[in-house]
Amino acid sequence: MMFNLKTDRSQYPQPGPDGKLEIDLETGKYLKLWQGPNHPGITGNMSVELTVCGDEVVAGKTHVGYLHRGFEKLMERRSFIQVFPIVCRVCVPEPDFNEYCYAAAVEELAGIKVPELANWMRTLILEMGRFNSYMMFLGGISGALGLGVVGQWMTYVRDLMLDRFEELTGARIYHMFILPGGVRGHLPDGFAGRMEEVLRTAEKYLADVEKVMFRNAVYKRRTKGIGVIDPKLFEPYGVTGPNARAGGVAKDLRKDAPYLVYNELDFEVQTGKDSDIHTRVDVRYRDIHQSIALIRQILQKMPKDGPVMAKIPNVLHWQIPRGETYIKGESSRGEYGYYLVTDGSGYPRRINVRGPSYTHAMALLEHLIPGTNISDVAQLMVSLHTYPPEIER
């Protein structure tokens, strides 16, 4: 049985009167194609169940839960200090936001004021984390498009930044540095100089990325005008961060709801207007440069000395009065937040992690997928910059 799908649209499933697609798999016109959980085009470990008709995707269902560890349950079992080591595991490539949001939530409910220097250190860590996360992203999007070499470069640059993380925090991936009450230590001697070297190397490689990726004809063809998110969808689907900024929404929590020391730093909100894959990558690319500039600014402006830890009660039986709060920050992917409810005991009553991937990778992705080409699904998904562990936690 032959039919030409490109010309004869009648062969595509038509939405019923209630606006829903009825896809009868047993007609033989469709194929179920699972992308993930083990797939190079998937960031992290999730899967998309595609229904394709020819090479066009007619429906997509996201499946998550491969990385579910029950964090929110485990946190309820742990005392306030014991939660601290596990929060960073919620998001592997940018763990620091978890540490900051959790620490800030606990500090707010416990009424602890963090020393000035600790806030600067936290900002530094968060910007370094953002830089790393974007490096992962550039590696991911280039990988999804077959530009392997950019991924190699970015991983290398990211690794240099991990070295700085290691000397500052004592670990490469899970830094566990932002403790409720402050941070764990001061900058090592000569840190700023070594950081400057890394930033210069990064800039050198980023200049190459500009030439190899952004000016690459293939790349342009495969990203421009593809995967467009209508800005009208931003509010209903809870799109935040660079994904929204790429659609012209100049909202950045660092500017709008300044936390830590962001109101003492000079930076601009990076926006685009086309809201396609290309713009989303471009906004992030400019954000990297801004992160680099911010890291330099922080190192220059931060106080040279002072305490980094506030006095906290004995952590072995730390009880926090009943209350609830929500702490948010602008992560590399959008609004990252911790909703903490305490009940006066030594354990949190409830912690809810609001990861930006939660809204980007689920309902929104399912909404965007129909009508795309199979080969575009990978970069569409990567361009939303989602990390599955923060969806299922």
Binding site: V64, G65, H68, G70, E72, K73, L74, E76, R77, E108, E235, P236, Y237, G238, T240, K251, D256, A257, G323, E324, T325, Y326, K328, E335, G337, Y339, V341, R349, R350, N352, R354, Y358, T359, M362, A363, L364, H367, E392
Partner: protein, 182 residues
């Protein structure tokens, strides 16, 4: 500003005394039957267009689930969290997926993790995160994660720990016998 808003809302809706957590964050408890119109009013009139999160808190001792609808007015940078208390037994919430399509995901999670039903929400009864789960919804307070884990999985054997207090009792005055006279 939040005070004005709350005062305005209180004219039409039954709200409890709000908790002004920060200048930009307020918590207030609303009635379940008024929730939908309240959400629509907040979204369409007051500019709270961004659904930050929707989650539940299990107040096991009081037999209630607290649903938290956190809304954000991006232009004014204000966050308002509405709490709605629903009974824990046969917990059912009102779906808001037609107001915010992203709520569909939250409601699926609440269905699976707390057992709160949202009739009419798409895919709400599909498996979301867990697969082949037969026990009670795990985020409920009466679900004991460690006890479940010990009953389901095997730990590596051979670990023994000693409480310093008890160990010293045994080492310094064995068999509860008082210490020998000096």
């Amino acid at each position: 500003m939040m005070k004005d808003l709350i005062a305005k809302l209180k004219k039409h809706y039954k709200l409890t005394e709000p908790d002004y957590r920060r200048a930009d964050l307020t918590f207030v408890t609303a009635q379940k039957d008024e929730l939908r119109s309240l959400l629509i009013a907040l979204r369409d009139i007051e500019g709270f267009t961004h659904l930050v999160l929707l989650t539940a808190v299990d107040w096991l001792e009081e037999g209630l689930f607290q649903l938290t609808y956190m809304l954000n007015n991006r232009a004014a940078n204000r966050t308002l969290a509405l709490r709605v208390m629903i009974p824990r037994a046969n917990a059912v919430g009102d779906t808001i997926h037609d107001l915010w399509p992203t709520a569909e995901t939250y409601q699926r999670e609440l269905r699976e993790m707390f057992g709160i039903d949202f009739p009419g929400s798409p895919r709400v009864n599909d498996e979301f995160i867990l697969e082949g789960w037969t026990d009670m919804p795990p985020y409920r307070r009466d679900f004991d994660s460690l006890a479940y884990s010990l009953q389901t999985y095997r730990e590596r054997p051979g670990r023994v720990t000693h409480d310093p207090r008890e160990h010293m009792k045994k080492a310094l005055y064995p068999d509860q016998k008082p210490e020998a006279a000096k």
